[in-house]
Symmetry: C3
Subunit: 153 residues, 3 copies
C-alpha cells in the first residue's frame, strides 16, 4: 500500500506545506538524510494551536498539537521528496513542548507525533526521540517538532 | 583493552537498557550513524534523579545526574550494537538541564556526561555538544541527554 | 569568489575560535558531515552577550546575538576544515533563545544567524532550522546555536 493510500485510510489530509516564516528552508537533503525544520502546531483550519502545558492546555490537547506537527512534517517530507514512499526510515524526532515548570508529561505529549509516524509508516516509522519542556515557542504555539529522515535510494 | 574491560576498570556497571516510555525506540542506525533517544537521569538503584538546578539541586548532583544519563546512553548503545567496541566515535551529545531561570552552569552539569565519554572511549569519546537549560523535563528529572554515535564498520 | 573574500566584502572579521569551556570539542567530522558544538553569543570585543528576550533584551539585540553565534560557528568551521570553501552546505541550525515565558519571536531572533549563513554562502547557506525558547543558557548568554554542515569532498 502506498503511504498516500495509508494516509487516506487513516483519514489524514496533508495540509499545504507551511512556508518558513523566515530566511531558512523547510528541508535539506544531506547525503540521503533529510533534515526537516522544526514544525509548529497548526490546527486543521490553518490556525495556530497555542498554549502551554500545565498552564492553559490539557494533556490530550497537547498530544493533538504534537500530532499536527507530525502531519506538517509529513507535508514537508512529501514536498521535499515528491512522494512519501521514498521514506526509508523516520530516524529521529526532536519534540519541544511549551511547558510550565511543573509539567512533566512531555513524553505523553510527544506520543501524538510518534504514534502518527508508526501508524503511517509501520516499522519504518519507529524512531529515536528526545522530548523536553521549553520555556517558550514561536508565536506561542504548544509544540514544535523537527525530524531526521532516511531517504530510500 | 575492550570497552567492557575499561568500564570494569572505571567501576561502572551498565544498567538494564531502559525501555522507552512510549511509542518510539531507543536507537536507530541510519547509514552507520546511531541516533540514540534522549535518556533521562536514573540513579544506580533505578530510581529517577529528579530536581531542578538553581532551585532544589546542587551543581555536583546535577553533574552526577548527567553522568548517569551518559551511563544509560552506553547501555542503549551496547543494546543496539551488541558491543561497545563497535563505537567509532561519540559524535554529538545534546544535553538538556532542568534549570531555574537564573542557573547558568549548564556546561559544568553537562561535563558529567562528557567526561564519562572521554574516560570510557578516550579520543573516540571526544564529542561535539550543546548544553541548554530547559523549563521542565519528563517525570521531573534533572537532566536528559541524547546522542549521535558513529559505528565502526 | 572565496568565502574569505565574501566575508571581507560583508565586513565580517572572524574571531579566534572559542575553546570549549569543558571536556568536549568544537566540531566532529562524521563521514563528511561536520557537527559543531553549540556556540554562545560573544560580542566583537570578546565579552559575552548576556540577556533574556522578553525580559531585559530587545528583539534587535537578540538577532545580533544570534548573528554573533553564527560568526563563531564560521570561526569553528574554518578551524575544523582549514577553509570555509570546503563547506558544501549548511544543513541545519539549532537555535536556542534565552526567553521569558511570554516571548514568542524566536524565529526573528534566529534570523540573525540564518541571514548570515545565506549572505556568506548563498544557496549553500540555506538550511533547515529549529528555533525554541529556553529557560536559561550557559553563563547567562542570550542565544546558543549549534550546526550540522556538509563538507565538500
Amino acid at each position: 500500500m502506498s503511504i498516500d493510500a495509508k494516509l487516506a485510510e487513516l483519514g489524514i489530509t496533508l495540509p499545504q506545506a507551511a512556508a518558513p516564516v523566515a530566511s531558512y528552508v523547510p528541508a535539506v537533503d544531506c547525503n540521503g538524510v533529510l533534515h526537516i525544520s522544526g514544525q509548529i502546531s497548526f490546527a486543521e483550519d490553518g490556525s495556530l494551536i497555542k498554549g502551554r502545558l500545565g498552564e492553559d492546555m490539557e494533556l490530550e490537547a497537547g498530544a493533538t498539537a504534537a500530532k499536527r506537527c507530525g502531519i506538517m512534517l509529513l507535508a514537508q517530507i512529501k514536498a521535499a521528496l515528491g512522494s512519501l514512499d521514498r521514506v526509508e526510515r523516520i530516524v529521529k524526532l526532536g519534540v519541544f513542548v511549551n511547558s510550565a515548570p511543573d509539567f512533566t508529561d512531555q513524553p505523553k505529549v510527544a506520543n501524538g507525533a510518534s504514534e502518527l509516524m508508526q501508524a503511517v509508516f509501520g516499522e519504518a516509522g519507529r524512531h529515536a526521540r528526545s522530548a523536553v519542556g521549553v520555556a517558550a515557542l514561536p508565536l506561542g504555539v504548544a509544540v514544535e517538532v523537527d525530524a531526521i529522515v532516511a531517504i530510500r535510494r
